[in-house]
């Protein structure tokens, strides 16, 4: 009896964690025009609704473009920074690290209103570029974390070996280091995209009426639209972010294998 107690409790908690997703997915395929469970029949009409209505579709496109721009910007800024943070020896490293990672912890509402007041004064509220600039701040920590993780286990003597064999430091970096940290860069890029694609609080303030992202469009309808279209959008989001972040996780594991599988250099 006591042996069963722990799996039972843990099982119930895991059920609680997954329950909302288990409910939303079948509801999105419902044939009824309201949210009744179990659904009376199967239909794709809510997906069709999403893919044919201009307001939903334009929001989805906007989120996609903003997300891609954020991915490029955050990866470009974050990758060299991670190299410096792992390899460099300089004072105040801990503080700089904490500063770069702080957007993960500082409450979203604070970042959002700070940026909103700033943009309001510049007159760029409602400009998609403003969203890109703001989301990049929130996405960059994920790039730094993922790239750093691949750099930590990295044997620097491999680069030294390349250089001593006549490679320039730059080509040593390109031909030895980059292939090994690439999984980390890609994982960081995936996290950056998802961060922007799912972001709501900054968008609530900065979207205005002209740059309505997908989460913002969901928020606008969430209290009043009772047909299952939002359930369909939610299901698409769960599937998309799940697939992207699962790839990131697999990339991370693969990079660990790469590093541990690479033959150790001669022990001194």
């Amino acid at each position: 009896m006591r042996r069963m107690a722990l799996p039972l409790i843990a099982g119930l908690v895991l059920f609680y964690l997954i329950l909302p997703i288990l409910i939303i997915v079948p509801l999105s395929f419902s044939s009824a025009s309201y949210l009744s469970f179990p659904p009376p029949g199967f239909s794709l009409r809510w997906y069709r609704n999403f893919f044919t209505r201009a307001d939903w579709l334009s929001s989805a496109w906007l989120s996609l473009w903003v997300g891609l721009a954020v991915t490029v910007l955050a990866t470009t800024l974050g990758t060299p920074a991670a190299v410096a943070l792992v390899r460099g020896r300089f004072g105040g490293k801990g503080l700089i690290n904490a500063f770069i990672l702080s957007p993960l912890i500082v409450p979203g509402i604070i970042v959002a209103i700070g940026i909103y007041f700033f943009y309001a004064r510049l007159g760029v509220v409602g400009n998609p570029l403003a969203l890109v600039l703001a989301h990049t701040c929130l996405a960059v920590p994920f790039v730094v974390i993922n790239v750093s993780a691949t750099l930590y286990g990295f044997d620097e003597r491999m680069e030294s070996a390349a250089v001593s064999l006549g490679a320039s430091p730059l080509s040593a970096f390109r031909q030895v280091t980059l292939p090994l940290i690439r999984p980390g860069v890609l994982a960081g890029a995936l996290f950056a995209f998802v961060t922007s694609f799912d972001e709501l609080i900054v968008a609530l303030f900065v979207s205005g009426t002209t740059a309505v992202t997908l989460p913002r469009r969901m928020w606008d309808g969430i209290r009043f639209e009772i047909d299952p279209t939002i359930a369909a959008v939610s299901t698409i989001l769960v599937a998309l972010t799940g697939a992207l972040l699962l790839s990131a996780e697999l990339l991370r594991r693969r990079s660990e294998q790469l590093r541990t599988a690479s033959p150790p250099l001669a022990q001194s």
Binding site: L6, L19, S36, L85, G108, L200, F205
Partner: protein, 287 residues
């Protein structure tokens, strides 16, 4: 000659490496730190140097109530997440890798799903015509739909749900790292399973407990989306109050509230960075 050039070029990036950090620091300085600093300045600098916005915050009962309420919700959510999360992390850590990786998906899928989507799912579950009410009516347990959504109950259910992975993942990370030999040693020396747990496992898992609690507490303090959508009329949390004040164009007062929230969050963050570090939680679960 060539040798010395190479020796030099290996060492040179060490000193110049700081330059790689500069673009990011400059970027975050302009688009992240400056706007927040300017907002903090606004809380005491508009229309002239004054502490009136802070005085209002601590003078009027309603605002004190909101701050108290926010701390209370964050504390209750933290305790609930610990009580629910500990058995899950324990079970996952004791299973072999293949099984625990499989079960971990049940933690990661909600973790990766946006807060908005998960909150929406709870609205669908708990609404007046929601799934829970439909179920209870169908089995005859109730005759009138219950009011579940927009209550304190709904707020706790949804917030604990959203934050639970932030408790389970650090707990699991620490527990996975525990040395099985220690447990076996305690057992072979005659300790009963309860004693092994209380005297070996529990103390060794405390760093995970500490990290998970700090993380959940700090995130709960600033929660906005979930309280705004599922909380009751009396459950006004500070982040929702800030948004309302911004909408009312009380920007200096909203800024003063934000300063209070940010100060609280940064204090917890500082403790957290010293104990475990943010990167370990957001950097994945493969330990």
């Amino acid at each position: 000659m060539t040798v010395s050039v190479h020796a030099f070029s290996i060492r040179r990036p060490r000193r110049g490496i700081f330059a790689l950090l500069l673009p990011l620091i400059a970027y975050l300085g302009v688009f992240y730190a400056y706007p927040i600093a300017a907002m903090m300045f606004r809380s005491a600098g508009e229309p002239y140097w004054t502490i009136q916005h802070f005085a209002k915050l601590f003078r009027e009962g309603i605002y004190l109530h909101v701050m108290w309420m926010t701390a209370e919700v964050a504390a209750v959510v933290t305790i609930a997440a610990l009580v629910l999360g500990y058995p899950v992390a324990y079970l996952l850590a004791r299973l072999d890798r293949a099984k625990s990786n499989l079960l971990l998906i049940l933690v990661l899928v909600p973790f990766w799903t946006s807060v908005l989507v998960r909150t929406y799912a709870w609205m669908v579950l708990l609404g007046r015509q929601g799934v829970v009410n439909q179920f209870l009516l169908a089995i005859g347990a109730i005759h009138q739909p219950l009011r579940l959504l927009n209550t304190t109950f709904a707020l706790y259910i949804a917030m604990v749900h959203v934050l639970l992975p932030f408790m389970i993942l650090p707990l699991y990370g620490v527990m996975r790292g525990l040395d099985d030999d220690l447990l076996r040693a305690a057992q072979s020396l005659g300790a009963a399973p309860v004693a092994v747990f209380r005297q070996v496992w529990l103390p060794l898992s405390l760093p995970g407990v500490f990290a998970g609690c700090l993380l959940v507490f700090i995130l709960a303090l600033g929660f906005f989306i979930t309280p705004a959508l599922v909380g009751g009329p009396r459950d006004l949390m500070i982040a929702v109050l800030i948004q309302q004040q911004v909408d009312l164009f009380n920007w200096p007062f909203a800024s003063a509230l934000a300063v209070v929230l940010l100060t609280a969050a940064l204090i917890v963050f500082a403790v957290f960075e010293r104990s475990m570090g943010v990167a370990r939680i957001f950097g994945g679960v493969s330990t």
